[in-house]
Amino acid sequence: MSAANMLASRRRVLRGVMSGTAVSVGLPFLNCFLNESGTALAATGQTLPTCFGTWFWGCGLNPGRWEPNTLGADYDLPPEVTALAPIKSKVNILSGFKVFTDGKAQQPHHTGNLGILTGHVSKNAGQDVHPSVDNLIADLIGTKTRFKSVEVTATGNARHTQSYRGGSVVNPAEVSPAALYTRIFGSEFQDPNAADFTPDPKVMARRSVLSGINEQRKDFERHLGSEDKVRLDEYFTSLRQFEQQLDFQLQKPPPAEACMMPKEPGQTPYSLDIEEATTNHELFADLLAYALACNQTRVFNMVFTDEQSTVRRPGTTTTHHILTHEEAVDEDLGYQPMATWFCNRIVEQFAYMVKALDGIREGDGTLLDRTLVFGLSETGFAKVHSLENIPMFTAGSGGGRVRTGMHVSAKGDPGSRVGLTMQQAMGVPVTTWGTDSLQTSKAISEILV
């Protein structure tokens, strides 16, 4: 090694460490290790459970650069969605949907996603929020797993969650892949494929002790006003769910043929730096895929960039959000080049998430086939906070309930139609959903099987 090389590598390492550059920890490839057991699984005739996940990003995409020109199957891929090419047959693109505010002031970068995910636009930020579809779905399908749902964000801020429980309660997001690993695959993880099963006496004791809180519920409620009682109800709902998690740990878990312990990710820095966010997103995506494959949860919520996408590139002065407002449109290109860089990165990462699920083979299909991923943003054209034409994707067929490979355009239709469709696809018994102009009973028949 020449001194020059020695020097260069030393400086790189030094700089890398000092500036906190993420060292990405690779996970083993997810595919191809299941073929044999997959066949065995198919032979048992067992139906694998369906899963649901949301995938959120901020600041939308550039109008005219992501909506396919053709409708229905075999759609074309405009420049900002080319990253979807390898998985196109398993992805739907939904264009044209909008959110109505019915005279309520728009909360920029919040109203759009709220309208789609909850079917309701609240008057004031953080108040009177309705539950989001992931929670409505988790109430149905998430009650028989260790975790009812798992929320993560690649942005390093636990408040960047898109999982609304209603009122002012949100499910905070996990920010660290290493912490998520410990939570799911740490010492309390029970391999569903282990030959023998002995309930852990410690878990039995914990379960018993916690029941003491329930026994005293009446006393705790005695002095509370009606609003506080509602909040204590939420507490007891959480407690009940936690008890159920313990109950599942006391039962022999059903086998999960594709389940495998993922590699433990090391500690990674997290912030609004897009490179760190990307590293963490990829680690999260891989961990979530295993969490679903191992039946630890059936619902997840992923935030890649927050509402208004405050991520930024290292070495630049401005965030994606600021760029959408302030960057000049390049006259030759016809779009904002720096802001668009983020759009491309975002779609690439959505594709990464989908591929992580598709990479886990189960029988003749993949984990993605029994999963429905709902990708959405909060605005159609971030530059003007437009609530028109908010970009949305779905991926996976949710166990055969969703037709894929379609482009559906519904110009001017309420985005709550998508939220309703997601619920119906997952089996939630709901026919009409949403409030005011977002109220709808029209699911998207083109993609519902």
């Binding site: 500036s19 728009q106 636990a158 009122g167 309660v169 506080d228 507490y235």
Partner: protein
């Protein structure tokens, strides 16, 4: 009669500033009657979830500071400018419960581990592998009183003991069983939530007040941001706290305790939104001096400055915006570009009389916290000043603004942010709101996005002239003086301090009382914080309970002035 008049007055006032001029001091007779009649206002109780800091302090005070928490708290929400008010609106989510459970078991394991057991256990079990209900009860009742901020009821104690006994049998280990019972207390509502209980007030028939333990807890979290200590709990138990003399003894004891410093720091960290530091990031390629250590030091600089000025010096609150005195580490000195007379730790520092660096608005904790990662934002800074320190609400940008006026930092025609904002002002939709914020924020343009001092931007000299509510100034020091002299500055603090104490916005009658009585006392006391805390802590209003269906109307905007876009 008096109250009715006050209510009308409050109702017609559009904001705190207007209220001040409308209700005092012109209405002097009214004032006197209110003062003479003391304080009979009050409001509903709100159940608050304990905050991270409170949780932390309770554990440290009860079990010692060596106990590690090892968990992640649910995010708090901010309401009426405070997380402490938001704490009255949140509950516990499933994932939050999981975290509380993890932390609780972790703490219990440390408390009853072999190292701490001899110190923290008041008794030894008859056998280590079998239940000993007497010993378990002794431990759980002693610890439970401190954790629940009141004695455990007989029913509660018997459940905890029974569960400890069952777990001991399952695990054949006394301490493991007791550990789980203790852990369950950490996830139990009486620990996680501050439940305040009211009772009829024998001194004022027909009225309700907090019961002794609730009063003790409200007082203790208010002054210390911590649970009551045994002395205060005793005063609650023996009724002393309900006597004026007993209350006075406790309030003065607490204000004299070193814990009040933590309490005051917790309040200001909440009011000044220092929780945002957790996620504050700057572009280190552009600003390599901004390391994570700087973030810790930045919050502490301001909190040290505040507690030194308000508690040690007993200074005028408004002087915080003009004071040349602060505390620095060499690391902060490297950002501010000033020498620091301490090789390693903190050193007092005094700016010169002509320096623009004066007051906490010029601290990194303000200018860096309210900036973009790579550049400053007069708009964000101005908005924060209005909302955080003057309790005024700046309207959100309208939804469908077209930001076609481009703020391109590389445009040679618009070198400074003032020039870019001026160009932006040709958009009539935007100018109204920017006039509310930008003239304040532009005065702070001498401070870069990381708080470093500068006099030019892109080679052009920075113009720091600005204006606050008709008062013009030349630079940040002038802005600090304008904030000092603005009547909203003191009234905003009163609003926030009271809201912090009661965990909600003041009711209309409380707002009137705060404005007229407390505001006047604060002024008379030279705007000193300990006196303000004492005035509130010694009042009846602070502990008076009026349920919401008894007609305690929340003030329309909680003392926040809703600003309207400026027409021009």
């Amino acid at each position: 009669m008096t109250v009715t008049l006050k209510s009308i007055c409050a109702l017609t006032a559009v904001g705190m500033t207007a209220m001040l001029s409308a209700c005092s001091p012109a209405n002097a007779p009214l004032e006197t009657s209110i003062t003479a009649g003391s304080d009979m206002a009050g409001g509903p109780v709100v159940m608050r979830r304990i905050t991270e800091g409170q949780y932390d302090r309770i554990i440290a005070h009860v079990f010692g500071s060596t106990i590690q928490l090892g968990g992640r708290f649910e995010p708090d929400i901010r309401a009426n400018g405070l997380l402490e008010v938001g704490a009255g609106r949140v509950s516990v989510t499933p994932s939050g419960f999981e975290q509380y459970d993890l932390m609780g078991r972790n703490i219990a394991a440390q408390v009853l581990g072999e190292k701490n057991r001899p110190i923290l256990m008041p008794c030894k079990p008859a056998a280590v592998d079998a239940p000993d209900n007497a010993c378990a009860a002794q431990f759980l009742s002693r610890v439970g009183r401190l954790l629940y901020r009141r004695p455990l009821t007989d029913a509660e104690l018997s459940v905890q003991v029974k569960k400890a006994s069952e777990a001991t049998k399952t695990l054949s280990d006394f301490y493991a069983g007791l550990e789980l019972s203790l852990a369950s207390m950490f996830v139990s509502p009486p620990f996680l939530f501050r439940q305040e209980i009211s009772e009829p007030d024998p001194d004022h028939p027909g009225m309700m007040r907090l019961d002794g333990y609730s009063k003790a807890a409200r007082l203790s979290f208010f002054l210390w941001d911590a649970a009551p200590d045994p002395d205060l709990l005793d005063a609650a138990a023996n009724g002393e706290l309900h006597t004026r003399k007993g209350l006075e003894r406790q309030v003065d004891r607490m204000l004299g305790s070193p814990r009040v410093k933590e309490g005051v720091q917790a309040f200001f960290a909440d009011m000044l939104e220092f929780d945002s530091f957790k996620t504050l990031s700057k572009d280190t390629t552009l600003y390599p001096k901004f390391t994570f250590r700087v973030v810790d030091d930045a919050a502490e600089q301001t909190l040290r400055t505040i507690t030194h000025h308000l508690l040690v010096e007993n200074g005028d609150y408004r002087d915080l915006f003009t004071t040349p005195h602060t505390f620095l580490t060499p690391l902060l000195g490297s950002l501010y570009r000033v020498p620091v007379a301490s090789p390693d730790g903190w050193a007092a520092y005094e700016y010169g009389p002509n320096d623009v660096q004066a007051g906490i608005l010029t601290h990194l904790s303000f200018v860096a916290l309210h900036s973009h990662p790579g550049r400053t934002s007069p708009t964000l800074r101005g908005k924060a000043l209005r909302e955080v320190l003057l309790c005024q609400e700046v309207p959100d940008p309208p939804g469908n603004v077209d930001f076609n006026i481009v703020q391109d930092t590389s445009n040679p025609n618009y070198k400074t942010v003032r020039q870019r904002l001026d160009a932006h002002a040709s958009e009539p939709m935007c100018v109204g709101c920017h006039k509310i914020t930008d003239p304040l924020g532009l005065a702070l343009e001498n401070f870069s996005t990381i708080g470093g001092f500068r006099t030019s931007e892109n080679g052009a000299t920075i113009d720091t002239r600005g204006e606050l509510d008709g008062v013009a100034f030349a630079n940040a020091a002038g802005l600090g003086r304008a904030v000092h002299d603005n009547p909203a500055t003191a009234s905003c603090l009163i609003n926030r301090v009271y809201s912090y104490g009661v965990g909600r916005e003041p009711t209309q009658s409380e707002t009137a009382w705060l404005t007229d009585y407390v505001g006047k006392r604060f002024q008379e006391a030279g705007y000193t914080l300990p006196r303000l805390l004492r005035t509130i802590a010694m009042s009846d209003t602070f502990y008076r309970v009026v349920s919401s269906d008894q007609g305690a109307q929340m003030a329309q905007s909680a003392g926040n002035t809703q600003l309207q876009p400026v027409e021009k």
